[in-house]
């Protein structure tokens, strides 16, 4: 992926105004500018479910445990060790001794408890993924117990998005809104970087915190600037001019071109954000017939999509769960076979059926996938009408079964790399669209629900893997979705950016704390 003509890369390097080449143990130096197309809603750790918020907080706050970039296993951060009680209902964490917040206050068990209490009081979005979390108790200054009302297998993983706030700083601002207004524009963390400038429609600036408890070994940048630029063409111009170093939102064509352009490189991260065509399984329409869905499931050519639409940037999906994940079961989804689908259409007299798909036309990949499906279906006599929408509008249509279209397109963005985050979200009837979730197929299969719930409450990986394999087989037999793709996370950057690694547990963020500019 790297360009071999490295001499030319000296030009943007000079433009970027880098002071010194990165040497080990150097003071953080240089300014890293990252373009981002979506402006952040605010800085509140309660909203860390949103990647535009998460990417700012990931370096400014600490968590008990973490997924570092490139890892799919959770590792200690503020917590040095943890113990899980026999019944799986109590998690006891031992905290590091040397952690201090940016104002010098030591981080203690009180801060962990305060953080979680506040998130509960504020009905925070990050708690949506914390399952049956019940509450926190302080044992002593460096020991905290988190209690659950029932066992929850991925609990430790879910804690990777719980950013610990400084109780002494935040408590006076709790007021009526649980400090939402305060934390929306102020930092209260202990991470390696400190948010120093917040203009949410323009730019956000973070600066290396000199007294960071973790120290500053290796090469790092002194300042990180997120610049909010929505137009892909503007991002490209800024990257070419050397005004930004990382540009994630270019068109696929431009990314492809930059791979062979001296001075630039393109990183392809193995993202795990499957894109689905979700069939309405509960409505009155033709897709409520499993046999009809079996026919539909055979009409999408994933290989062609990967080649022509994603230009090879991604992995071929094999079922809803990304290949290689715990409990992945191969071969559960029907393969592309237009002739077999045509035979079913003829046999059942389905020719002339009208279907409606809703999608987000602003997303290039969705637009093209819809066109591809339309073209294939028209070849076998089925008319697919496409309705492009905005996200809130589309999300509102699935809140009742009656208004759910035959097919909906949506991505799954797992909040941590665990099968629960993909399969439970997409297939549990408790999270159907009508129940405010992302199971937009309105799929309800008591057997699947039971397996998903059993897998969630188990902490034995082998047992969980087997339960998830069964879920995938059942869902495959019911033809609930077509898994369209597993698009890679493709990020274009200047050649002098080193240390960038895609983080599957924090999709659409950047490990700027590990990046340096050569």
């Amino acid at each position: 992926m790297r360009s071999f003509r490295t001499y030319v890369s000296l030009i943007p390097l000079a433009l970027a105004g880098v002071l010194l080449p990165g040497a080990a143990f150097a003071q953080p130096s240089g300014v890293l500018v990252i373009a981002e197309n979506e402006t952040p809603e605010n800085l509140d750790p309660a909203n860390a479910t949103n990647s535009t918020v998460n990417q700012l907080l990931i370096g400014a706050y600490d968590t008990l445990v973490q997924f570092t970039a490139g890892e799919t296993q959770v590792s200690p951060r503020i917590a040095t060790a943890w113990e899980i009680s026999e019944d799986g209902l109590a998690y006891t964490f031992t905290l590091r001794e040397d952690v201090t917040f940016h104002d010098g206050t030591p981080l203690t068990a009180e801060d962990v408890k305060f953080t979680l209490d506040r998130l509960q009081a504020a009905s925070a979005n990050v708690l949506n993924d914390m399952g049956p979390f019940a509450g926190a108790e302080v044992v002593d200054e460096k020991t905290v117990v988190l209690r659950l009302s029932e066992p929850f297998g991925p609990f430790i993983s879910a804690l990777s998005r719980i950013y610990i706030v400084n109780k002494a700083l935040v408590e006076p601002h709790m007021g009526e809104d649980n400090a939402r207004q305060f934390l929306a524009v102020n930092g209260a963390g202990s991470g390696p970087y400190q948010i120093t400038g917040y203009s949410p429609t323009e730019a956000v600036t973070l600066r290396a915190f000199p007294d960071y408890w973790g120290g500053w070994d290796g090469s790092h940048v002194e300042e990180v600037v997120f610049r909010y630029v929505s137009e892909p063409s503007t991002q490209l111009s800024l990257l070419q001019r050397g005004e930004v170093h990382i540009a994630p939102d270019l068109t696929v064509e431009d990314k492809l071109a930059l791979m062979d352009t001296p001075g630039f490189k393109v990183d392809i991260g193995a993202a795990a954000t499957p894109l689905f065509f979700a069939f309405n399984t509960a409505g009155e329409g033709p897709t409520s017939d499993p046999e009809f869905r079996r026919m539909l499931a055979m009409t999408f050519d994933r290989e062609l999509h990967l080649e022509q639409v994603l230009m090879g940037f991604g992995n071929l999906p094999d079922g809803p769960l990304p290949v290689g994940w715990l409990g992945h079961e191969p071969g559960t989804e029907a393969e592309f076979d237009l002739e077999a689908a045509r035979a079913l259409v003829d046999e059942n007299g389905w020719a002339g059926t009208n279907l409606l798909v809703r999608y987000l036309p602003a997303i290039q990949e969705e637009q093209r996938a819809v066109e591809q499906l339309q073209s294939n279906l028209s070849q076998i006599g089925i008319n697919l009408q496409a309705e492009g929408m905005t996200w809130p509008a589309q999300a509102a249509t699935v809140t009742s079964i009656e208004t759910t279209s035959d097919i909906n397109m949506l991505y799954n963005f797992p909040s941590f790399p665990d099968p629960h985050a993909v399969l439970n979200t997409t297939f549990n009837s408790a999270l159907s669209g009508a129940n405010g979730g992302y199971n937009w197929s309105q799929y309800s299969n008591p057997e699947v629900d039971e397996l998903l719930n059993a897998a969630a409450t188990s902490s034995d990986p082998e047992e969980r893997a087997e339960l998830y394999r069964q879920v995938q087989r059942l869902v495959g037999e019911d033809h609930v979705v077509i898994t369209v793709s597993n698009p890679g996370s493709v990020v274009a950057m200047a050649e002098n950016v080193s240390g960038y690694v895609y983080n599957a547990a924090h999709h659409q963020t950047f490990n700027y704390m590990d990046i340096s500019l050569d």
Binding site: S123, Q181, L431
Partner: protein
């Protein structure tokens, strides 16, 4: 005096009609704000709880009543998205947008007025035809398209002006009391930032002004032509007044009035159109804020933006009306 009071009362009434229509529209279009605010995997119970907290379970007329009550107390509410008082958000977003609009308006006036006058004086000549052709082309080009072309060619290829943003990277720490960087930099005597701000404004302001200028030239021309036909012009010429004196002292002074009314309205329209250039030139501003509010179903923020743009529109029109009234010979006779 009664005229002034009448105009102001009329403006306030229009504002409330505008508010109500926006409120209604936002209910129809935006989707379910509680669903968006609850985040992924929230579940039905939490969404229902949020809906109640946000007051969305109330009938729309009750919601509107509460909202108007708050506005009357000077409270635009809290954004569900930014968690900040909307008034504070808008105070931050308005200056960059207004700065852009002022400059675009300046370009508009600087071109429309003289071009309108000249094409009226030399109406139906080759010169008039040529200007008309250019103007038609200008009016036909979509703003966002012109913005992209200017950015890619003038800034990107030729490297003459900045590609995007409000200030250069080296000036990123600049801040001022008013938020209008042109004003702030002058107040601080910082000529470097003043020029930098102007350079960043040039392309977006030009792109924004183009369509409005095209209309401006045509409107000015029409009202000037009417003036040229009037008897007093013939009289002035007969009395031997020079053509320059006729054009500027007589025709321009009188013919500018109808055009002025249009320019007043254009000011408000421009503020509504800033979104087209703000997105492309990566500038902060009210347009960008509005887009985010719409896509996040942040109803109160959407209504507040429309309200504020409406207020600016009405104030601009009020000022123009007063100006026209003050200049009008009838009023001079009466008063």
């Amino acid at each position: 005096m009664s005229y002034v009071v009448q105009r102001i009362a009329f403006s306030i009434l229009s504002l409330f009609i505008l508010l109500f229509v926006t409120f209604l529209l936002s209910q129809v279009v935006a989707g379910d704000p509680a669903l968006i605010a609850a985040g992924p995997n929230a579940g039905a119970a939490k969404i229902a709880e949020l809906r109640q907290q946000m007051g969305l379970d109330q009938p729309i007329f009750v919601q509107f009543g509460i909202y108007v009550g708050n506005i009357l107390q000077g409270n635009l509410g809290t954004s569900w998205f930014t968690q900040q008082p909307i008034a504070r958000d808008l105070m931050r977003e308005l200056p960059p947008s207004l700065e852009l609009v002022f400059l675009a308006m300046l370009i508009n006036l600087a071109v429309s007025m003289p071009m309108g006058l000249l094409t009226a004086r030399f109406a139906h000549t080759k010169f008039d035809d040529a200007v008309r052709l250019v103007v038609l082309a200008g009016a036909g080009l979509p703003v966002f398209w012109i913005a992209i072309i200017l950015q890619q060619v003038v800034a990107g290829n030729w490297g003459i002006l900045p590609i995007a943003g409000r200030l250069s990277f080296s000036n990123r720490d600049f801040s001022g009391a008013t938020g209008f960087y042109l004003l702030d930099s002058l107040m601080q005597g910082n000529l470097n930032v003043f020029i930098d701000t102007l350079a960043h404004l040039a392309l977006p302001a030009f792109a924004l002004s183009l369509l409005f200028t095209a209309v401006g030239v045509r409107i000015t021309r029409t009202s000037m032509i009417n003036e040229f036909r009037k008897d007093y012009v013939t009289l002035a010429r007969a009395k031997g007044a020079g053509e320059g004196r006729v054009m500027f002292r007589h025709v321009f002074a009188n013919g500018a009035t109808p055009a002025l009314t249009v320019f007043g309205m254009q000011f408000g329209w421009m503020l509504g159109a800033t979104v087209l250039v703000e997105e492309i030139f990566g500038r902060p501003g009210i347009g960008r804020y509005a887009i985010k509010a719409v896509t996040q179903s942040d109803i109160h923020a959407v209504v507040a933006v429309v309200f504020v743009v409406g207020v600016v529109f009405l104030i601009a029109n009020l000022i123009v009306d007063m100006l026209v009234y003050a200049l009008s010979p009838r009023k001079q006779r009466a008063g």
